[in-house]
């Protein structure tokens, strides 16, 4: 399969990209690393008229710690995160997640911003970052705004970005040196998309996420409450009972593997 005809525009700056997006006629897609959009265009599942390529835009690939937050640019590759460029405990967590994404050549090109903006339910970052908390920064016709990661992923391939907005980066919490985290991805082959994800961080607050669902990842407050109260183990049966109360559309098998993922993420956090 080859893509349908489209116009490729290489953006020189974020300003230019925002203007181009705002003025675009026809369907316009923003290209980060192209590791998801590329295959979708080849399969003609995506047929944009215009592709705005951010690969030469400066200022979107920084990683910096600013006191109580870590800023990660949208164009930071999975590989740089895998290589430990994000500092501290937050970096440890993200490094673990990045290492499990596909294989190295995809990680070299694929970007964290692209992954979150694309919002494939089976991808790692939408679930992993929801469990971390923090916010997304976006640039649009009305300037820059900050959007909480809570609720940012709305559904499959759907986010809180406005039609004229470009995801520029993330502000992520600094996990303390004594903070625990756990991430468990159920898949059958290293690097494959997830069948189920369990993600847990215990920073300022306890966060627990059930991910790789049919739709958006979601926080599991019952488990967060238990973690906040000092509980360090949640059995698979307990998680099953809890998840069963959510309207996630799981069949019995899916319920089981999501329960295992979350139970093992908790286990991993205290291992």
């Amino acid at each position: 399969m080859k893509p349908a005809k489209f116009e490729h525009q290489r953006m020189a700056s974020l300003d230019e990209a925002v203007k181009a997006l705002g003025n675009a006629e026809g369907e316009t897609r923003v290209l980060g690393g192209g590791q998801s959009l590329g295959p979708m265009m080849n399969l003609r599942l995506a047929q944009p008229d215009v592709v705005l390529d951010l690969s030469k835009v400066e200022g979107l690939d920084g990683i910096e710690e600013t006191g109580n937050a870590i800023r990660v640019g949208a164009r930071v590759s999975h590989a740089r995160i895998e290589d430990g460029e994000v500092p501290g405990k937050t970096g440890d967590y993200m490094q673990f997640v990045a290492t499990g994404i596909s294989y190295r050549s995809v990680r070299n090109r694929g970007t964290i911003g692209g992954s979150v903006a694309h919002a494939d339910p089976s991808a790692d970052w939408p679930s992993a970052l929801l469990a971390l908390g923090g916010s997304v920064t976006a640039a649009g016709g009305n300037g820059i705004r900050t959007i909480s990661l809570d609720g940012f992923t709305v559904g499959p391939f759907s986010t809180g970005l406005g039609w004229d907005e470009i995801l520029t980066g993330f502000e992520l919490p600094v996990l303390g040196t004594d903070a625990n985290w756990g991430y468990y991805k159920v898949n059958r082959k290293p690097g494959e998309f997830a069948d189920a994800i369990g993600a847990v961080t215990l920073g300022v607050e306890a966060r627990a996420v059930c991910g790789a669902t049919e739709s958006a990842p979601f926080r599991v407050t019952e488990i967060e409450e238990r973690l906040a109260s000092g509980v360090q183990e949640v059995s698979i049966a307990e998680v099953r009972d809890i998840l069963d109360r959510y309207d996630a559309g799981f069949d019995d098998y899916e319920l089981q593997i999501h329960a295992v993922a979350l139970s093992r993420a908790v286990q991993g956090a205290f291992a």
Binding site: M1, K2, P3, A4, K5, P39, L43, R44, V186, R188, K189, P190, E192, F193, D195, I236, D252, Y253, Q256, I257, V260
Partner: protein, 781 residues
Amino acid sequence: MPDGATVQGIGASVLRKEDKRFLDGHGRYVADIVRPRMLEAAIVRSPTAHAEKLSVTKPDLEQQRVFTAEDMLSDGVKPIHVISKYPGHKPSDYPHLAIGKLRFVGEAVAVCLADTRAAAEDLATQTKISFDPLPAIVDMVDAAESPPALVHEQWGDNVILDSLFEEKASNLDRATVSVTRTFRMNRQAVNPLEGAAVLAEWDAREERLVVHSSSQIPHILKNALCECLGLRQNQVHVIAPDVGGGFGYKCVLIPEEIFIPWVAMQVKQPVRWIQDRREHLIAAANAREHHYSVTLHADTDGNFIGVEADIIVDSGAYSVYPHSNILESTMAGRTLHGPYKFSAYKVRSRAVATNKPPIVPYRGVARPGICFAMELAIDAMARKLGCEPYDLRMQNLVPSDAMPYKTITGGEFDSGDYQEALRRAGTLIDLKAVRSRQRQDEADGRLIGVGFGCYIEMTALQTSAAARAGLAAIPGYEQAHIRLTPDGGLEIGVGVQNHGQGMETTLAQVACERFGMDIAMVAIRHGDTATSPYSTGTYASRSMIMAGGAIARTCDVLGVQIRRIGAHLLQCEFDDTSIRDACVIGPSSAVTFAEIARVWHRNPEELPADVDPAGVEVTSGFRPSPDNSPFSYATHACVVRIDPELGHVELLDYVISEDCGTIVNPMIVDGQIIGGALQGVGTALYEESCYDADGQPLSSTFADYMMPGSTHLPNLRVDHLVTPSPLTEYGVKGLGEGGAIPPPAAIANAINDALRGYGVEVVETPVTPRRILEAIAGSKT
């Protein structure tokens, strides 16, 4: 070692002659070939599994760039039509482009041409098709028992062939213990690294059609082109360049191999079509789908009495050229016995038509299915008898002192020690240690299981057996053409096709062995119908036996010619000469092949007037005599660890004890076995072409179709028994397919062994986490 043996002959781990071009990126596949004014083709494919009243509307402005079945019919192109001589086989046509009816999703409907593939795909989206939907026949059991519709109306049902293999059924009365199970091996795609690819053009100077295709059978493709397009044999030239894996998918004709050349003749420009992975996963989801109801009968001591079975093979919508749509069902029906002794046999086997792509003989051909069914039934029997499955197998395998052994269905095992293969596999996997480990629970709650799978494989199917079985394609003798070149080297033409097996090396090793020459001086030429001897091609694990045998025999004929000239040059009697180290050796001196070749080709004035003008260029051939097939065999054994919370299976250990007769190149043999076993792991655990109830394929990308990877096998340990076959040159047996046959059986048996505490069994491939968890859940209800 035979006379003339060198370090590069039979048995040497010679590095592959092919390695340099492949590792340097100098291999040339169809997609690497570009011709002037070449057009690219994209194919409009059926979006529905079953429909009638098909109508195709070409885009207004591009009528000349889009071709349909009507265009082909009006030009007199004939459809593929393959029926076997088996009584009762129902005939059907396989149209190159769909006519009237659509019979599976992915069936070719129209072909669109443009300067680039992307533009051709644009044209394909502008080509509109309409049709009246019909109910889809998706499940093979429904197809046989309660069809919602008919794939081919003229038949009155969907059963292509209903065959009964019954021998001494009255002996079944002697059975005292029986187990009955239902098994299913699901459909998958073959997935060679290189998909199908065709490039065709009419050569006006040569006045012939030149077709490049990624094929295992270039000569058979040439036959098909002549038959369908009404061309003379001298008007068709087929070239199979480097072929990136075939595995049986490329030993059948695909419609593209006819309609792309036909289209190229219409537009008088070269036309190329490269199958993409999505097309492969949809239109070529065409392997393995079998259903078994098996009853294994034994006496109280565990001696097998008989087997009864009802087999259904999902043959898909059409009958493929040249092997037909009943190859798998008849092979499964006839050889379900495997390597075991039986005194009663009653197997019904039906090939059924469904709205899915036509089945092809994927590596192992039917035997992965029958091995899975028989070997799981044996483990079920062992559990019922309360005995060790290993012991039950040992007790019932055909013993070596019974060789040659007539099977209950009339086959003949030529040689081997099946029990020793099992014994060695049991030792290598350390069955006792596994059993003792199983007596304690694992600290992490995982479950350990051990499983075995034994098989026999008839290799290099022979003429009379193929004719007896009523097969549509019957192989005969195999030829080699050998020229002693002016520098004393050999150029060897063979009609078989190398598509990754290293045959340019192993076939050369045969000539090295015969003449004691440096392998650098031996070149194997293949893949071109203009320059190679006619051959039915590479399939059925036949090439080393047949083309290797042909090279050995042709070397013998050529050797006589070379010795005659040598005797003249040495001024000695012919009978006093012999060949060693690429020299003719006389009583007191020797003359090199290079010197003999120089005299013959360039200084014939030095030869006497009565020299044999046949010279040093010879074609001769080989077939086993009697024309029986050598049987390869092996036992695979593995240890699995199951995570009972997720249903994930990990292969902890995997051993193979096999016998392919004399080993030509140990490194290549191990590579073939390991590669085959990994494909078998795919069948066992990962690969499945899923369909919804309407026959829509659900596994159309690698995101939805899981291939095994290098992380999915532990370091395989391969152990070789060597029982030379009495039927072949050097005692070789075929080994290309065997590795892929027993992994589903061995792995599923290991899984069932691990699950024994739950009292449940898995009975369907691939054994996915979902299937394992559903089996475990079944024990709790």
